[in-house]
């Protein structure tokens, strides 16, 4: 038999109720069929054999009713009535279904229904507005990415890359005539060209000398003698003093170098030949000047 008072006495006051949540001021009831949410004698669904609630499922409201006749059949205990979406009509439905029921339950049902409809309206409004999506960060992943970023930064060598790119653009002339550097570049290019032509000519001369080396070497048996060299220079009388002095200087230098550098003997006659060759050129181009003391030496 269903003794509500006994049940309430046990679970409400003395012993344990698993749905009860105790706080400092009040007691709450976690039972899903509870109409007010508080733990009271009149609100407890276990201690009242005639009980009704409003519950909401996916935006639809239902009225649940429990009567004492079905207390023995737990599977069929709660009667579920779907309420209309229209607020007034739903209230009328509640009234019709709960006619002759205690005032308290009727009132509380309507209150609960009102609250539910209000929060459903708010949900619908909010979904239309901006919804902020929170994306959780994983600490490990973030740390890993940070490390990768640091390494990528080191590998990037940004300053160098930027400088290189800027210089490239300067070379390609995207800056037009703003900077005066292009002239220098042109001069340098010219110099490069001159050097190349000189080296080419020297090489040609060397090649020719290679051919004539034997001939010249027979003449110069006594080598590495300053005086001889000068004599030989004098032999080729007729050149610009300046040129001569400079070449003499060069030859002197080479003479000094020669005893220091062993194994460069072969170079000396070559140099002499080269000098001779150059001298030949110079003779043609420049004025002939007489040397001060011509030594008599028959060739």
């Amino acid at each position: 038999m269903q003794h509500d008072d006994v049940i309430w006495d046990v679970i409400g006051n003395r012993a344990f109720c698993s749905f009860k949540v105790k706080t400092k001021v009040q007691n709450f009831c976690r039972n899903e069929y509870n109409i007010t949410g508080l733990c009271n004698r009149s609100s407890c669904p276990l201690a009242n054999s005639q009980y009704a609630t409003i519950r909401e499922e996916k935006g639809q409201c239902f009225l649940y009713m429990k009567v004492i006749e079905r207390a023995a059949f737990p599977a069929r205990m709660w009667e579920k009535v779907k309420l209309s979406k229209n607020y007034e009509k739903a209230l009328e439905q509640i009234d019709q279904n709960l006619i002759y029921w205690p005032r308290f339950i009727r009132h509380k049902c309507k209150q609960r229904f009102t609250k539910i409809t209000q929060y459903l309206i708010r949900i619908r409004k909010l979904t239309l507005k901006r919804q902020r999506k929170l994306v959780p960060l994983s600490r490990k992943v973030e740390a890993r990415e940070k490390r990768k970023e640091e390494k990528a930064l080191i590998a990037a060598q940004l300053d160098n890359a930027i400088e290189k790119e800027l210089l490239e653009r300067l070379k390609q002339g995207t800056y037009g005539d703003i900077y005066n550097f292009p002239i220098h570049a042109f001069d340098k290019a010219l110099e490069h060209q001159d050097e190349e032509s000189e080296t080419d000519s020297e090489e040609e001369e060397d090649d020719e000398d290679v051919g004539k080396k034997e001939f010249v070497a027979e003449d110069e048996i006594e080598e590495s003698d300053l005086s001889d060299f000068e004599d030989m220079d004098n032999l080729k009388a007729g050149s610009d003093e300046h040129e001569e002095s400079s070449e003499e200087d060069e030859s002197e230098e080479e003479m000094e170098e020669e005893p220091e550098a062993s194994g460069s003997k072969g170079k000396m006659p070559l140099k002499g030949a080269v000098f001779r060759k150059k001298r030949a050129y110079v003779e043609i181009e420049y004025e002939q000047e007489m040397e001060p003391v011509p030594k008599s030496k028959a060739t």
């Binding site: 507005k129 901006r130 999506k133 992943v141 990415e145 940070k146 990768k148 970023e149 390494k151 990528a152 930064l153 590998a155 990037a156 940004l158 300053d159 890359a161 930027i162 400088e163 790119e165 800027l166 210089l167 653009r169 300067l170 070379k171 800056y175 037009g176 703003i178 900077y179 550097f181 292009p182 220098h184 570049a185």
Partner: protein, 342 residues
Amino acid sequence: QGCTKTKKPKKQPKPPHENGNDSMIEKTEPEHVDAPAEFSFPPTFSVSEIKNKQRRHLMFMKLKQEKRKQKVAMKKKKKKERDALGDKAPPKEVPKTIENQRVYDETTVNPEDEEVAFDEGTDEFSAYFNRLTNPKVLITTSDRPRGRTVRFCNQLATVIPDAHVYYRRGLALKKVIPQCIARGFTYLMVINEDRKVPNGMVLCHLPDGPTAHFKVSSVRLRKEMKRRGKDPTEHSPEVILNNFTTRLGHSMGRLFAALFPHDPQFVGRQVATFHNQRDFIFFRFHRYIFKNEKRVGIQELGPRFTLKLRSLQKGTFDSKFGEYEWVLKRHENDVCRRRFNL
């Protein structure tokens, strides 16, 4: 085996083995033991089998020292060989870097690729690249920005010519976008903030252009820069885009390029750089000066930050129903650390 294992006894000819197994192995196979002065262990021995932590540690240290010695010896030998050969020595080997070992991406763009050129002639940026539109950027933040983010936005506005900063005030982006288009903006940039620090950026090209979502990190404001120059002037900066090789990288490059006006004013001598390295895009803003034709000096002004692309979506900002061209999936990139997307 009464002697304990310390460093000194190790110099003895036959070190007492720690494991019972090893000593047994030694007894049964004496020919494996080498000359007394050296340590040699049966091939199956490994340092990790020693149970005692101290001894294991010591053995490991010794192993490391051996390895180091061998390495140095190898190096010396190689150097000697190289010197001996002189000119005929083979060229020096290039060390392996991640960039060298990068997995070849099939979407790498070939400069002469016609298909790509055709795509780029007709994509959303073609209007900019054909000089039909001038860039106009709207910079805003997420709700309730903190001081750092606001300052960052202001500094960005000085870097990008023709940029306007507006407060967000809880507006919905989808509603903001049509208004922007009506007022002639070409770009919408939203800096997202988390915990008082900017950490995300949504860059939306406006007349129905792609939307890119980046993760922003390492933001340095102007105050925090060392040896920085004066504030940037109003001149349009040059743009440098480095290392955008794949098809995706190419579209990113175009996205960044379209932020700036077509004709940079070389008088201003300012340059904005977007450098891609291993999928991180580093942004820097410098002022340069040519000292001579071989040297240039650069001085950093302006904010710096790094971006990492998280998703690229076709069409303007629509996170729910938008069509995503590319989304960063971590597990794809975790597989191989030499694979990059940009």
